[in-house]
């Protein structure tokens, strides 16, 4: 049982999990562990876990990596960007650990700090301690507690006030091991007043061993700041990927997220946003194209804690074969959060009788002057549109493709990075034709067939 293994791992590795940290962090991690012991792994009796059963997954054994890999990993050999035309700063997370051939943490000329969270704990303790764990519910959500207890490393980004990072930062999360692996990557992104950051977060695995990723990112966006966050998930069928993003948005600040899920075993994405100041905005989007026995669960929680805030959720999915999709969108509007605008849309297309979707909106509104709407649809392709296309000579198969592609494009079109949008567009259309293999999007060298133009040098951060 994984739970026993976790107790054992924690107790045997207290030196690296607790003792290495400053007092406040140590206390928090300790509290988090106790909370995990109390809560245990989520189970299907919990409302938010009713449709995602981890039972079989946590019966397996997985190994933690308590130190960075000592394997001589050649990043150039390992990494090839599938988006050569996308100009980014690239950082790599290898089995949960920040990896760089230069510095583990860098301070750029404009005051931006990028690097290993592990190093940031030591080198920038005031910044880290002010935010680490502050946007995370360790008492209530057991996987966030588990991550906090085991958190050792991840990506740390600090953008000071009034800095707009022009290039996106691309985070490549790679799993590479010859045993079953569990990782608990922990990221912390702090964005100052009037500052902007674009993040592209990609998840990959090299070996098709069983893996369990329980990642947690905390994002703090100060007044008038903006974060544009993309998550690309194209994982193998043996993987379980649980990601949580906790976002704290101050007044006039904005968060935009886009989760693009094209392959995977079991995927669970939690996005928790607190709109904490007047005029804060959240624009959350997701697209999932799943087939075979895949399982994708998107959980969104938006907390309108202040007045005049705006939130919008747009999640769309096409579910094929025996795949299952879950969407749970919760909107909480506090008593004082007057003039709230909150919208939620979840649209699904089921392609087979065995495909299923569970879509659930939850609205909790305590203010009286709000505009909230939610809509959820589950259906097949529009027969009128099908006939319209076919009446122009387009065969049934192509008509379906066109409509599915169109359905997906509502989400893809919102991508603001042109190269990424183009790439996603191609991938979605390949995926719908059944031509997208996991290697297509993969940044790794497992295929010799990768065309030359895709091969690109790893760009170290400055």
């Amino acid at each position: 049982m994984l739970k026993d293994k976790i107790y054992e791992d924690f107790n045997l590795n207290r030196n690296v999990l607790l003792d290495n940290f400053s007092e406040p962090i140590r206390q928090l991690k300790h509290k988090a562990f106790e909370s995990f012991v109390k809560l245990g792994f989520p189970h299907i009796k919990l409302e938010n876990w009713r449709h995602t059963n981890l039972k079989n997954i946590i019966e397996n054994d997985y190994k933690h990596c308590f130190s960075p890999s000592d394997k001589d990993v050649d990043i150039e050999q390992l990494f090839q960007c599938e988006l050569p035309e996308m100009d980014t700063y690239t950082v790599i997370q290898y089995n949960g650990w920040f990896m760089s051939r230069n510095n583990d943490i860098s301070l750029m000329d404009n005051g931006v700090i990028i690097g290993s969270l592990n190093k940031a704990f030591k080198e920038y303790p005031e910044i880290v301690e002010k935010h680490f764990g502050k946007y995370t519910a360790v008492e209530k959500r057991s996987l966030e507690a588990l991550n906090t207890a085991f958190a050792q490393d991840g990506i740390f980004i600090f953008v000071p006030d009034n800095v707009k990072l022009e290039k996106p930062i691309q985070i490549i999360n790679i799993l590479d091991a010859d045993t079953n692996l569990i990782t608990q990557p922990r990221n912390l992104f702090i964005i100052g007043k009037n500052s902007e950051l674009t993040l592209v977060h990609c998840d990959h695995s090299i070996l098709h061993r069983q893996s369990l990723i329980n990642s947690l990112s905390e994002i703090f966006i100060d007044e008038n700041g903006f974060v544009d966050h993309y998550k690309m998930q194209n994982k193998d069928a043996e993987s379980t990927l649980i990601t949580t993003i906790n976002v704290h948005v101050e007044s006039n600040a904005r968060i935009s997220t886009n989760a693009l899920i094209l392959n995977g075993g079991v995927i669970r994405n939690n996005v928790n946003v607190k709109l904490n100041g007047k005029n804060a905005q959240a624009d959350l989007k997701g697209l999932y194209l799943v087939d075979r026995k895949q399982h994708v669960d998107n959980q969104v929680f938006i907390h309108h804690a202040s007045s005049h805030c705006y939130s919008k959720q747009l999640y769309k999915g096409i579910i094929d074969d025996d795949a299952r999709a879950v969407f749970n969108g919760r909107i909480l509007v506090d008593k004082d959060a007057q003039k709230t605008d909150a919208y939620q849309t979840n649209k699904n297309i089921l392609l087979t009788d065995n495909a299923s979707v569970h879509s659930q909106p939850q609205l909790e509104i305590y203010a009286d002057d709000v505009k909230c709407s939610h809509g959820s649809t589950v259906g097949q392709l529009d027969p009128n549109a099908m006939f319209y296309l076919r009446s122009r000579g387009i065969c049934e198969h192509s008509s379906r493709m066109l409509l599915m592609y169109a359905f997906a494009s509502e989400v893809v079109d919102t991508i603001t990075i042109e190269a990424l949008k183009y790439r996603l567009d191609t991938m979605v259309s390949k995926r719908l034709k059944g031509e997208l293999s996991i290697c297509d999007q993969c940044v790794l060298h497992c295929s010799e067939k990768a065309p030359d133009f895709l091969k690109m040098d790893f760009k170290p951060i400055v």
Binding site: L389, R392, E396
Partner: protein, 250 residues
């Protein structure tokens, strides 16, 4: 070109067309008129192959062969075009992509290679002129957010691109102001030649001021009850449908 014999069609077990007959030859323009609910749209849909209609009797012969068993796309590839009364909005599919897919599937059916991109785009540009369309086709989704007039222009634009042999235009004049009507009618007229045929389905006579039919048929109670020349349309406009009803019901 088209020969419909004794056609009987039902939808949801309700008979809509019964004992319906028509002969259409290349180079001809036929107008089918009639009050609401007499089966005009059913006729258009059945010829185009829409699902949900049951043919109980009779046959539709197109270019010498029965098409009752053909799929809508097969009929389209053989040159049948339906101008929709209510063109469907398809968010996310650009007009360019839509037409490119259609043109190339039809070409493939004819054993031709896909049309080169440059040639295709300049062809689209030419066809746009026919209906004075100034929409940016590449960026706009099919019919999404189009006004009634734009939708109908888009139908005729598609007709111009696909160059059908038999065009069935279902209430193409409905919802058009006089300027749009003139443009749409001009488009239809300019696409007419001796090898193709057009069936114009309409409620009002006004479209026929612009498109001069060779034959006017009155559809009532699921069948053609009267056929005449273009002057029949004028008579209908003047007297309404009631005199026909009286004639029939007696």
């Amino acid at each position: 070109m088209l020969s419909i014999k004794n056609l009987e069609v039902s939808i949801d077990n309700k008979v809509i067309l019964k004992n319906f007959n028509i002969e259409v030859k290349a180079g001809e323009v036929h107008a089918i008129m009639g009050p609401n609910g007499t089966g005009k749209s059913t006729l258009a849909n059945v010829i185009a192959g829409r699902e949900g209609y049951e043919v109980l009797n009779g046959d539709i012969i197109y270019k010498g062969k029965s098409i009752l068993e053909s799929k809508p796309e097969e009929r389209a590839r053989e040159g049948i075009f339906l101008g929709f009364q209510y063109p469907v909005e398809i968010p996310g599919v650009s007009i360019t992509n839509f037409m490119k897919t259609a043109v190339n599937e039809i070409r493939k059916h004819k054993g031709l290679d896909p049309m080169p991109a440059g040639e295709f785009l300049s062809m689209l540009k030419e066809k746009k002129k026919i209906v004075e369309m100034n929409t940016t086709l590449a960026s706009r989704s099919v019919n999404q957010g189009f006004s009634g007039g734009e939708k109908k222009k888009n139908e005729i634009f598609q007709m111009a691109v696909l160059e059908p042999q038999l065009a069935i235009l279902d209430e193409t004049d409905s919802g058009l102001d006089i300027d749009a009507l003139r443009i749409v009618a001009h488009g239809i007229n300019s696409l007419k030649n001796k090898d193709n045929a057009t069936i114009v389905i309409t409620h009002y006579q006004r479209l026929l001021d612009y498109i001069v039919p060779d034959f006017v048929h009155v559809l009532y109670g699921g069948r053609i009850v009267k056929t005449g020349g273009k002057e029949l349309a004028l008579e209908l406009e003047e007297k309404g449908y009631d005199w026909i009803k009286q004639e029939i019901d007696i």
